[in-house]
C-alpha cells in the first residue's frame, strides 16, 4: 500500500503545482455535484470561472467587481497573516472591521454636510484607529492577564455586532430615513464617499490600500528583522525568547496591525461599496479573510491571488445562480470543495508518497 514520508523541506515544485491540481480536482468533484443536480457541469464551471472574466455580456462589469470584492479580503488577510505566522490567533477581524467602519463612518457623519477635503483622510485615520483599539482589548488582556486571544477576539465580534445594531437604530440613524434603521448613505455625500478612482475600474482607495499592504507585508516578511522575529516566534517560541524577542511586544504588534488593517477595510467598505451603516453591514469578510490567509499560505503574494480567487467564486457563483438556477447552497458547497482540496493537496508538498512493499512492516 501507500506510505507517506515527510519531506525534509517542502517541495518547491509541489507548492506551485498543488493549487492548480486543487482547482482541477474541484472542477471534477463540483462538476459531478452539478451533474447530480441535473445541471450541465461544463456550463456551470464555465460560468463560475470564465464568464466573470471574459464573457462579453458580463465581464466589463464583473472584472472590476472582482477588485471590489477581493479588496477587503486581501487587506484583512494580510493583517492576519502576521499574527498567524507568529502563532497569535486573531479570530475577531470581523469585529475590528465593524468597529473600524463605525469609527470612520461616525467621523464622516459628524461632519455632514461639510465639504472640507480633510474629512475623508480623517475618516481613514478614525477607521484604522477603531480597528486597532478593538484589537488592543484581546492584546492587553493577553499580555496582562494571559487570557486566550482566540476566545476574546471572537467574542468581541458579537459585542461589535450589537454596537453596530444600536448605532444604526440610534445615534447614526439617518434623520431623513422615516424611522427605518441605517445611517445616511455616503453615496449621497460626495466629500466623504470612497468613490472609484477611475469610473468603472472598481479601484477605490480600499483596493489601493490592499495592494500597498501586500507590498508592505512582503518587504517586512522578507527583508525586515521584524519578519524574522515573527517567523521565529511561530516556529520556535523558546528560541525566539532566547534571542531577545519580547513575546508581549509581538502580541501587541500582530494584533494591532491586523486590527488596524481590518478597521481600514471596514471604513473603505462603509464609505464606498456598502455606503451606509445598517444592522446587516458586516458580511463575514473578517471570517472569510481567515480562509484567504491560509489559502495564500500566509504569503503576501499568495494572499493576493487567494483573495482574487475567492472573489471570483463569489461573483461566478452569483452568475451561476442567475443563469442556470443553481441553488446557493450548491455554490457554497463548491467553494468549500475548493478550500478542502487546496488544503488537502498540501500533503503533496510536505510529504512524499511511497509504495509500501508487502511485508516490509
Amino acid at each position: 500500500m501507500f506510505r507517506l514520508e515527510k519531506r525534509p523541506v517542502p517541495s518547491k515544485a509541489w507548492i506551485i503545482a498543488t493549487p492548480v491540481l486543487a482547482v482541477i480536482a474541484t472542477m471534477i468533484a463540483g462538476g459531478i455535484m452539478f451533474a447530480l443536480l441535473g445541471k450541465d457541469p461544463v456550463e456551470a464551471i464555465r460560468i463560475i470561472f470564465w464568464d466573470p472574466l471574459f464573457s462579453e455580456q458580463f465581464a466589463s462589469y464583473s472584472r472590476p467587481q472582482l477588485l471590489v470584492k477581493a479588496g477587503p479580503l486581501i487587506l484583512i488577510a494580510i493583517g492576519l497573516s502576521f499574527g498567524f505566522r507568529a502563532g497569535i490567533w486573531n479570530i475577531g477581524a470581523e469585529g475590528q472591521y465593524i468597529i473600524g467602519a463605525l469609527f470612520g463612518a461616525g467621523v464622516g457623519l459628524a461632519f455632514y454636510p461639510s465639504q472640507s477635503i480633510f474629512i475623508f483622510p480623517l475618516m481613514i485615520i478614525a477607521g484604522a484607529f477603531g480597528g486597532w483599539i478593538w484589537a488592543m482589548i484581546p492584546a492587553i488582556l493577553r499580555t496582562r492577564f494571559n487570557t486566550n486571544e482566540i476566545l476574546v477576539s471572537l467574542l468581541l465580534v458579537y459585542v461589535a455586532e450589537h454596537i453596530m445594531a444600536a448605532m444604526s437604530l440610534g445615534l447614526m440613524r439617518n434623520p431623513e430615513g422615516h424611522g427605518f434603521p441605517g445611517s445616511r448613505n455616503f453615496q449621497q455625500y460626495e466629500t466623504a464617499f470612497n468613490a472609484e478612482l477611475i469610473a468603472g475600474s472598481g479601484m477605490h482607495w480600499g483596493v489601493v490600500a490592499a495592494f500597498i499592504a501586500v507590498i508592505f507585508a512582503y518587504i517586512t516578511m522578507s527583508r525586515h528583522i521584524l519578519g524574522y522575529q515573527i517567523t521565529l516566534a511561530g516556529q520556535a517560541p523558546r528560541a525566539a525568547k532566547f534571542s531577545g524577542v519580547s513575546p508581549n511586544r509581538l502580541i501587541v504588534f500582530c494584533l494591532g496591525i491586523s486590527g488596524l488593517l481590518a478597521g481600514l477595510a471596514g471604513l473603505f467598505e462603509v464609505a464606498g461599496p456598502a455606503g451606509q451603516i445598517t444592522t446587516s453591514f458586516n458580511q463575514g469578510y473578517g471570517f472569510t479573510a481567515i480562509i484567504v490567509a491560509f489559502l495564500g499560505r500566509l504569503n503576501p503574494v499568495g494572499i493576493l491571488l487567494a483573495g482574487l480567487l475567492m472573489a471570483l467564486t463569489y461573483i461566478g457563483g452569483d452568475l451561476a445562480q442567475l443563469m442556470m438556477g443553481l441553488p446557493a447552497p450548491a455554490i457554497q458547497a463548491f467553494q468549500g470543495m475548493l478550500l478542502f482540496f487546496l488544503l488537502a493537496m498540501d500533503v503533496l508538498s510536505n510529504f512524499r508518497i511511497r509504495l509500501k512493499k508487502q511485508g516490509a512492516a
Binding site: H178, G179, F180, G275, T278, Q283, Y314, Q321, M323
Partner: protein
Amino acid sequence: MISIRNILTGAAVALGLAVTAAAAEPTKVGFVYVGSVGDGGWTFYHDEARKKVEEHFGDKVVTSFVENVPEGSDAERVMTQMALSGVDLIFTTSFGFMDPTLAVAAKFPKVKFEHATGYKTAANVSNYSARFYEGRAIMGHIAGKMTKTNKIGYIASFPIPEVIRGINASFIHARKVNPDVEMKIIWLFTWFDPAKEADATKALVEQGVDIVFAHTDSTAPLATLAELGGYGFGQAADMFQYAPKPRLSSIIDDWAPYYIQRVQDVMDGTWQSKSTWDGIGKGMVAIGAFSEEIPADVRAEAAAMRDAIADGTYLPFTGPLNKQDGTVWLKDGEAADDGALGGLNFYVEGIEGDIPS
C-alpha cells in the same frame, strides 16, 4: 422604382420578422432574495409567488432568482448582473435592498424595478408592501379573548415602523376586548434565528405569558409553545403543521396577485412607477384558518373583523387612541393616515417599556 420597392418589401419583411420575434420573446423577470427559498417564511413565500407567475404566464415569461444575497454592495452586484443578463423586471424583496436597487436602477433606465417594504421610488422603481398590521389586529382580538393569564408576549425583530405597527395593532385589539391584558415585548434584532426565537419564547412563557406573537420568520416559537404550552400564530407563512394547537391562526403573505399584475403591466407596456400598500382587501395579506381551539363566538368575531377590514368598513388604527405618554394621537372616530402609519415610531398607551434605539 423596382429597387425601391424591393427595399421597401425587404424592410417590411424585416419589420414583420422583428415584430414576431418581439412577440415570441418571453418577458424576463428576476428576483433577488435576502434569505433561502427553503426558509419556510419570508423568502419562501416570495418564491411561491414567483412560481405562480410562471404558472400564470407559461412560456410567455422566464424567471430567474438569486438567493441568500447579503444587503449592501453584494446586492448591487447581483442586481447589476441580473440587469446585464437582459431581464425586463426585477423584484428585490428585502428592505435592505432599497439603496442598492435605486443605484442599479439609475444605471439601467429601461429595466423596471420593484422594491419590497421600502419607501423610495424612482422613474423605474416602484415599491410595494403589505398591511400586515391588519392581520395583527385580528390576532390581537383572538389573543385578548383567549389569554387566561392576561399576559401576551411579542417577539419583535427590529424597531422599524412595520414592527411597531404590528405591536400596536395587536395590543390595541387585545386591550379592547380585555382591559386587563398586558404585553411583554422582547427585541431580537434578527428576522430569522430559530435558536434565539425559541429562547425568547421560553423566557416569555416563564414570565406567565400564554399567547405569543412573533414578528420573526421561523417556526421556532410555535415549536417551543407546542412543548411548553400556550398559543401562537403563524407568521409570514400559514405554519399549519402546528394547528390546531398551538397555532390559532396565521398572517400569510401572498405576493402572487401583485407580481402577476406587474408582469402583465410590463408585457402591456403600461408599467408605471408607484407605491403600493395593500392588505387583506386586495389579497396581499391572507388570514389562515381559525383553529378549533378558539371558541366559536370568538371565531365568528374574528371572521367578521377580517371581512370588515377587507371591505374597508373597519380601519384597525381608529381613535380614540392615545400615545404611550398619554397625549392624544387619534381623536374619537379619526383614522390614522398612511403617512403617519408609514413612519410610526411610538407605542400606544398601555404598552410598557421603551422602543430600543
